[in-house]
Amino acid sequence: MLYKNAFCGACALFLLTTNAQAASMNMQSMPAPAGTPPNTVIIKSFMFTPMSLTIPAGTTVTWHNMDGEPHTAVSIDGLFRSPALDENDTYSFKFDKPGTYKFLCSIHPQMRGTIVVTAR
C-alpha cells in the first residue's frame, strides 16, 4: 500500500514588498569602478569584475568584496582559497607561475573568474 505524504502549508507566502536591493540592481556586467587599484578583482553584485585578469608572473592579485553578502575566491585546482570575505574585506594571492587559473565563489558557485598569468 502506498502512503502519500500529506503536507500542510500553513505557510507565510512570500510577501512581495518593494525591495531596495531590487531597485538598485543592474544585471549588466560593469567595468571596475573608477579608481580601482591595478591587479584588483572587485566583487560586486554577485560578479567578479573583471571576470578575466591577465598579469605577469610575480604579481599579487587582490580580491575586494563590495557586496553586503560574503563571497570567497577559491581556485578550482586548489592553489588558493580565501576565507569568507565580508563586505569590504580583501584577500591577496601572489601568482608566481605562468598559467590559467580559474576560480569561483564557494558560497555562490555560479560566480566564476579567471586569472591568466604570463611569463615575465
Partner: protein, 304 residues
Amino acid sequence: MIDNTSRRDTLKCLALGTGTVFTLAGGIVTPIDLALAAANPGTGTPLFLQISDTHIGFNKEANPDVAGTLSKTIGLVNAMPEKPAMTLHTGDITHLSKASEFDLAAQLLSGLRTGDLHTVPGEHDVTDGPGAEYFARFGANSGNRGYYSFDYRGVHFIALVNVMNFKPNGLGALGDDQLSWLKDDLEGRSASTPIVVFAHMPLWTIYEQWGWGTGDSEQAMSYLRRFGSVTVLNGHIHQIVQKVEGNITFHTARSTAYPQPQAGVGTGPGPLKVPGDVLAKMLGITSVSVKSGRSLFLTDTTLS
C-alpha cells in the same frame, strides 16, 4: 491503492499555501499555525523540528540581530505544548564559518529543549574547506564526511552534504562517493520505511542561475523513488518552496535570520531587506509530525 484522503489533504494544504492562512493569522501572536494544527486531529505526534539558515555572525541591515531572532525561535519552540524530541539543522549555522560564530550558535542552540540536534553543513559553514571548523565540531559521527544516516521512531533519516563540490554551472553536487554510500545505505530497506532526507541546498533545481539546486540529485532520487514516503528537507533559499512528485515531498524551510528574494528577483540571492514588522513574518521553522504511523505532516511557523 491510492490513498485519496491524503491526496485531498495535500491539495487542501497546497491551497492554504496561497495565503488563506495568513489572512487568518494576520496580526495574531505566534504559534497560531501550531494552534491551528493542534485543533486538527489529523496533525499527529510531533516527531522533529527543522531549523535552518541561522547565519550567526550576520549583522547587516536585513537583520542586525540574528542571535535575537534565533533566541526568539527557540523560545517559541520551547513553548510548544508538545515539543518534538529532535531537531534537524539544515545548514548555514554560521555566516562566515568563524569559530566565534560556531561558539555562539552552539550556546544558543543548547537552549532548545528538543533532544538531539542533527546537522548538515551549508556553504557558509565550510568556507574554510574540508576538515576545518564545521567538521571539528560536527564531523565525529560521520568520520568527517558530513553525511550519515540514523533511525528514529521507525523513520530512516539521511543527512546529505551538497555544498563541498560544485557542478560547472554552479549547482551543488553530492559526488560519486556519497551517491555510492547512499545507494548502499538504502539497499535492502523495506519500501514501507518512511524516509527523511535532509541537506542544505535544494535537492531539486529551483533556479539554476543562482545555483539553487543539486546537479546530481536525480541519481539520489532514483534510489529513493521505490519508497512509499520520502520527505526531502532543505534550507539555503530562506523561503518556502515545495513540490510533490510521486511519493517524494520536497520542502525548503525559512531562515531564522533573514529572507532572500524570490528566484531571479534582483542581482543575486543576498539578504532581502524588508520593513521591521514584516521581517518576523518571513522568519521561522518547520515542524514535522507523523500521521497514521507513516505519513509525515509538515507545519511551517513564523515568528509573528
